[in-house]
């Protein structure tokens, strides 16, 4: 396979990537199809980070990550966490958060070594207090005067991109593998473009920007994450996201057609009141509508999740390491539905089991493709990050893409 190399930073892309719509270097906006000397000019703008994606040899190693935790083990951690959280009126929450995340990180084994989450709980507590204060302010304002809550919401939307930026930095800084921390290299400006500008443009573009927005959100994470001094290279293109959302639109149209057919075929049965079939038909009809309105969004959600996760991992390159993700929407959907049922019927006691089951499926479907071992990554600088961003991710459940 031939590679096109960015003359500015050394970023390389295969010809297939370029055919898929990757015309310019994602970092420097240099046209890849124009003059492309195969050699590398070392005037890379991000000096401490290596931005070179090294082409793989013909027979690289395929490493299967393993999730080694068990549901029983997690149940005990979870129940003690919850108990201590209630006992301390929520003050234990940061410690619980760190222990929970640590459990999942330390049981994810890649090439015989585990991940680690090293965030200091006290820093997260500060973040919780700040963000919790903001949320209380919002509810107070809502009780006092609904107009004020709108104002608070407006201020909040202005602050949110900054919080996301800070939280991603904090999250990356405190995630480590083989004692090498991750780094998040994204800028505040890109965060404001991604989380404020594009959503604001949705009404003006009649929603046509939504796939592009989804792409930019993923790009903000995958295009800026670095392991030690090795930056991840994200080669995704917005065009593929338009394809995905096109398929989703077709699915939604199908459901609307199905609904219409259902309503039209049931309408005569429901309208004749004295008939015996009246009740059963109506109950069946409402059950069908309710079921569809619950199941279809869940399936579409899992479909989008599976596709984007597979795509983003598949189009990432970390030095001489590549990834492959083979999630199946159908399987994820089945796990989701059965998990919800299990949680409801166990009054929440099966939450840990459900969580471990889903994580195990996701980890089982990732493959790390490495040229040699994973021994040659370097650490670099260690800046400190404050924690209020981390609390923001927990409160607003921003998906970070792992």
């Amino acid at each position: 396979m031939t590679y096109l190399v960015c003359r500015n930073c050394g970023f390389s892309a295969s010809e297939r990537d370029v055919e898929d719509g990757l015309a310019v270097c994602p970092e420097c906006n240099v046209d890849l199809k124009a003059e492309h000397p195969r050699g590398r000019d070392d005037t890379c703008r991000d000096a401490p980070f290596s931005r070179q994606e090294i082409p793989l040899r013909s027979a690289p190693r395929r490493i299967k990550p393993v999730f080694a935790g068990s549901a029983g083990e997690y149940f005990r951690i979870w129940i003690v966490n919850t108990f201590l959280m209630i006992l301390t009126l929520g003050l234990y929450a940061p410690w619980a958060k760190v222990r929970e995340r640590r459990f999942f990180y330390r049981h994810t084994v890649v090439d015989g070594r585990t991940f680690d989450y090293t965030a200091p709980p006290v820093a997260i507590l500060k973040g919780y207090l700040i963000v919790g204060g903001g949320i209380s302010l919002y509810y107070l304002a809502k009780v006092y005067n609904p107009l004020y809550s709108l104002l608070v919401f407006g201020i909040f939307s202005l602050v949110l991109p900054f919080l996301i930026y800070k939280s991603l930095r904090f999250f990356a800084r405190h995630s480590a593998y083989r004692n090498i921390p991750f780094h998040f290299r994204g800028t505040v400006g890109e965060s404001y473009r991604t989380y404020l500008l594009y959503p604001l443009l949705i009404p003006f573009t009649l929603g046509l920007i939504i796939p592009y927005w989804a792409f930019r959100r993923k790009k903000y994470f995958f295009g800026n994450i670095a392991f030690g001094t090795t930056a991840n290279i994200f080669k995704g293109s917005a065009r593929q996201f338009y394809k995905l959302y096109g398929i989703v639109a077709v699915m939604l149209t199908g459901v609307v057609v199905l609904f219409t057919v259902m309503i039209l075929s049931f309408a005569p049965l429901i309208v004749t009141p004295e008939d015996v079939t009246f009740n059963t038909a109506m109950i069946f009809f409402f059950f069908a509508v309710y079921f569809t309105s619950l199941v279809v969004p869940a399936f579409i959600q899992q479909y989008i999740y599976a596709w984007t996760t597979n795509y983003c991992w598949g189009h990432s390159g970390l030095g001489n390491v590549r990834f492959q993700s083979t999630l199946k929407a159908g399987r994820l959907f089945w796990i989701r539905i059965t998990n919800i049922l299990a949680i409801i019927f166990s009054v929440g006691l099966l939450i840990p089991w459900a969580k471990v089951r889903r994580i195990r499926y996701i980890v089982d479907n990732v493959t790390v493709i490495a040229d040699q071992g994973l021994d040659d990554f370097t650490a670099g600088l260690r800046p400190d990050e404050s924690a209020y961003g981390d609390a923001a991710t927990d409160f607003f459940d921003i998906e970070i893409g792992l």
Binding site: G69, E73, Y74, F75, R76, I77, I79, V80, T82, F83, L84, M85, I86, L87, G90, A93, W95, R99, R102, F103, R106, H107, R113, T114, D116, T118, Y139, V143, Y144, N145, P146, Y177, R178, N179, I180, G228, R336, I340, I343, I344, G348, I351, K355, L374, D375, D376, F377, T378, A379, R382, D397
Partner: protein
Amino acid sequence: MIEFKAVYFNGKTSRAYPVSVVFDGGTLRIRGSEGDHPALDVHIEDCTIAPPLGGTVRSIKLPGGAQCETTDTEAVSAMEHLTGRNTGMRLVHFLESRWKTAAGALAGLVLCVWLFATYGIPFLARKAAYAVPPELTEQMSRQAIKMLDRRFLKPSELDPGRIRKLREEFQHLSREIDADFNYRLEFRKSPHIGPNAFALPSGLVIMTDELVDLAADDRELLAILAHETAHVKKRHGLRSIIQNSGVFLLISLLAGDITSITSAAASLPALLAQSGYSRKFETEADRVAALYMIRKGWGTKPFQAILLRITRDMADYPGESLLASHPLTDQRVRHLREIEASMPEAE
């Protein structure tokens, strides 16, 4: 002397060095088991031992950003024990590692939630409700009445003389029950809600024309007004707002990540808790009203009569369910009779 096998990471590269570690109580001697690297002695005072968690690997942070990882959890806990590290988290780990303690935590959790929902939240809500400044309740009530006027209420069509007389009687009554608050009585016509009365936290009491028309005499209306005054005096309105948000907070804290997928299942206990609270408030307000009526020498008969008549009449109104938080009328009437029977000076 504690000895164990470990893996050493220097913190600069991702390379793993197999090492053997010897700890003599003060110094960690780390020696590479394949080749010379690393060979270092560090004092335990300069190291951080990451707290234990489930069956996961143990890690020791060394000075200068290096780290040792080992699966020999026993050796590391022995080290922790010897140096008195992580006492708090070791206790948490102890609770987490056994099924018996986990079951204990579950039982404790259920007990705590029950205690908190029954005593904690109402107690805190009462404290908070009395601390709310009057300007805020004024503002809130103004918003609420504006909304109600727009959607459910119409201007009263009662005779102005009748309104004046009821207001005078109400001023007298409210001063006797609660002298500290500024009470006002307003009338509205509401074909939607029907015969009803309600109080806002600021001391504004609204009575519908339909209720005035339904009453046989003014004592019946005064019984209702005494009930509403008690709601304001005891800050029931504010307390229920605060309690309901407390329950919501508690449930979201407990459910954490599942609120989004099972919101229907999560809102059911919230609804149950809320109706339990509001029932308590109604009973309390009934009691205040009953005692007032008995003190006046009127007895609770007028109160019982108007309650029964309202219930009979209510069924005709579409907005009936809007304010239907009152306990079943039969129970309320029985409760009123019990109060009267238990009073020694009652007739």
